[in-house]
């Protein structure tokens, strides 16, 4: 077991390093000139060569690439992630301020997706091809197609239109003002949660349908256990394993989806910061956030793999 965890962590570290190199390559080495990214094409052509060189020097962009990479890696390890082009606040401080809101949204959305998705999957699987099943399948297909940020815009618009309500635009910490905090995070969490619930209902349904046909389920029924107990004790736990794995994969959907969704709700989280960085062409902030999102995604999936290994001895022993 411990060797399994150690192996996963070692591979994970390798992946995170690889990811950091890839982010660096994309943001610095791809054909786009960083000054073009900052000033835009028009602004760039107006700069004189001397100005260009001076800017490059100020930004530390005239050092050899490997030195730039190591300097960046150092700021990551120190935890302050360097500075934005346009703000005094370091990226580390921004993370501390905005990170919790996005983290809350992510966690809440996962909880919501299970609360909605699993019961739908159970109803669908136990009564296949009935009206309830068809309705559930139609809804999940629909929610797979609707872009979350658009649902977010509709919710904001509807609340404003009919109730004159708008969630507070400033961030409030969970501990200082729980209610304001809840108002800020609930909208994005519901939208992202429903998006995931569609996948979970779909996967849960097919997993349950498969498990129900297994011999041990028939044995449990044959020895006289009642149907509900068999589903709850024997079928469901086994059907949930693939759903847990799926939840890990879906974290990518949540992390990435939170960017447009936070824009739609004007939520003061990390996703909105990413949107701001993109519109300001702030490649340093962007580079750090992209790396951070990918690293979190990798680590979460390792956590999921380890959870699965704890729950399922077949995987542990392989």
């Amino acid at each position: 077991m411990y060797s399994y965890i150690a192996r996963r962590l070692a591979f994970g570290t390798l992946t995170v390093v690889g990811v950091s190199i890839m982010v660096f390559v994309i943001m610095r080495i791809l054909p786009g000139d960083p000054l073009v990214a900052i000033f835009g094409m028009e602004g760039f052509t107006k700069l004189t060569d001397a100005q260009r060189a001076a800017y490059m020097h100020d930004l530390g962009l005239s050092d050899p690439l490997w030195m730039q990479y190591l300097a960046w890696a150092k700021t990551i390890v120190q935890g302050n992630f360097g500075h934005s082009f346009f703000r005094a606040e370091s990226v580390g401080e921004m993370l501390a301020r905005r990170g919790p809101i996005t983290a809350e949204i992510a966690i809440l959305s996962v909880i919501l997706s299970w609360i909605v998705g699993i019961p739908v999957a159970i109803v669908s699987a136990l009564k296949p091809n009935t009206a309830a099943d068809s309705a559930a399948r139609f809804l999940s297909i629909l929610f797979l197609a609707i872009p979350g940020f658009w649902v977010g815009m509709l919710i904001v618009l509807g609340l404003l239109f009919w109730f004159g309500y708008r969630a507070p635009l400033t961030g409030a910490s969970l501990f200082a003002d729980p209610w304001a905090n809840f108002e800020v995070v609930i909208g994005p969490a519901v939208v992202l949660g429903l998006g995931q619930a569609a996948y979970i209902a779909r996967m849960g349904r097919s997993a349950l349908l498969e498990v129900i046909r297994e011999d041990y389920v028939r044995t449990a029924r044959a020895k006289g256990l009642n149907r509900k107990l068999v589903i709850a004790w024997h079928a469901l736990p086994n059907a949930l394993l693939p759903v847990i794995t799926l939840s890990g994969v879906l974290m990518g959907l949540v992390l990435a989806g939170s960017i447009p969704v936070e824009r739609a709700f004007a939520t003061p989280g990390l996703g909105f910061a990413m949107f701001t960085a993109v519109s300001e062409r702030d490649i340093f902030v962007m580079q750090n956030l992209v790396f951070l999102y990918a690293a979190v995604f990798v680590l979460l999936n390792i956590a999921i793999d380890v959870t699965i290994a704890v729950l399922d001895p077949r995987i542990r022993l392989r």
């Binding site: 609707i146 658009w150 097919s206 990918a294 995604f297």
Partner: protein, 297 residues
């Protein structure tokens, strides 16, 4: 005077085979076929946009600014009086060009890479798998955003950015298919009679990968459309004034504290309908080409 038919029966032409395929899709999966028709209508609309759209998409009309839907402007107008219906119709061009371009490019590159990985194996495969793993460590949209931002706006950039996020899927799936094909007897026979690597890969193995490739490509069209719209919404897609559904929604948010409902509603409905159509058509094609996968996720 009865003429008798002699000689062999003519083999079915390619056209009639295709026709029979479509007919069987209608019979076996009427729902998918229905959405296939919707998809065809959307594609036709994109191609015939100049003929279908009632107004030019970038023509401002300062006498009709931000007007709600009316007889003259069915979907209303935006802040500078551009007709929303026309912009939605023209927006389908950007959406579909990017989706088809990115999926074709990304899946093909991924498939060829996967073919090479599966066929050659060894160290090349090991390094490739690590690279693919790195690529897959990024949530799709975030990788696309970073690439689109680094390369600077424009339709080619958006296609390349989305295509790169599709490469790992093609790579993984086709590699798995090739690994199982490599063990087949006919491949061994081909090797036995001395076929070279290129002939083995492209003449004997590649044709077997066509069905999984098609399934993969069609299932990724919907995802590509959503990513394109998200990029447009975040301001790293195709830049205005060219209308895309994503940048229309972005403009709507910039229209004021309370965005007019018609500017929010219609582009979103267009995205949803298109994605729904391509997803369900994809499901139908998958069922048709590979009945074993029916009903799975």
């Amino acid at each position: 005077m009865t003429a008798t038919i002699t000689g062999p029966i003519a083999p079915p032409s390619r056209l009639s085979t295709a026709w029979r395929g479509i007919a069987s899709l209608f019979r076996r999966a009427p729902l998918s076929a229905f959405w296939g028709v919707i998809a065809a209508v959307i594609i036709a609309m994109a191609i015939a946009a100049p003929a279908v759209a009632p107004y030019p998409p970038i023509k401002a009309d300062f006498r009709a600014m931000q007007k709600p839907p009316s007889e003259k402007h069915w979907f209303g107008t935006d802040q500078v009086g551009r007709d929303t219906l026309s912009r939605v119709i023209y927006g389908s061009r950007a959406s579909l060009t990017v989706a088809f371009g990115a999926v074709l490019f990304g899946t093909t590159v991924g498939a060829l890479w996967g073919l090479a990985c599966g066929y050659f194996g060894g160290r090349f495969d090991m390094v490739s798998q690590r690279l693919i793993e790195f690529l897959q460590s990024f949530p799709d949209l975030i990788l696309a955003m970073a690439i689109a931002m680094a390369l600077g706006g424009g339709i080619t950039t958006v296609i390349v950015a989305i295509a790169i996020t599709r490469i790992p899927f093609g790579g993984r799936v086709i590699r798995a298919v090739v690994l199982s094909l490599k063990e087949m007897q006919y491949v061994e026979a081909a090797r036995g009679i001395g076929a070279g690597h290129a002939r083995m890969m492209f003449r004997h193995i590649l044709p077997q990968c066509v069905a999984p490739y098609l399934i993969l490509a069609t299932t990724h069209l919907g995802v590509a459309i959503v990513i394109e719209a998200s990029l447009g919404f975040l301001g790293v897609g195709i830049p205005p004034p060219e209308p895309t559904w994503g940048n229309m929604l972005s403009d709507a948010l910039n229209a004021g504290l309370v965005p007019p409902w018609w500017l929010v509603l219609f582009p979103g409905v267009a995205i949803t309908l298109t994605v729904l159509a391509f997803n369900l058509l994809g499901d139908g094609i998958r069922d048709l080409l590979d009945p074993r996968l029916r009903g799975s996720v």
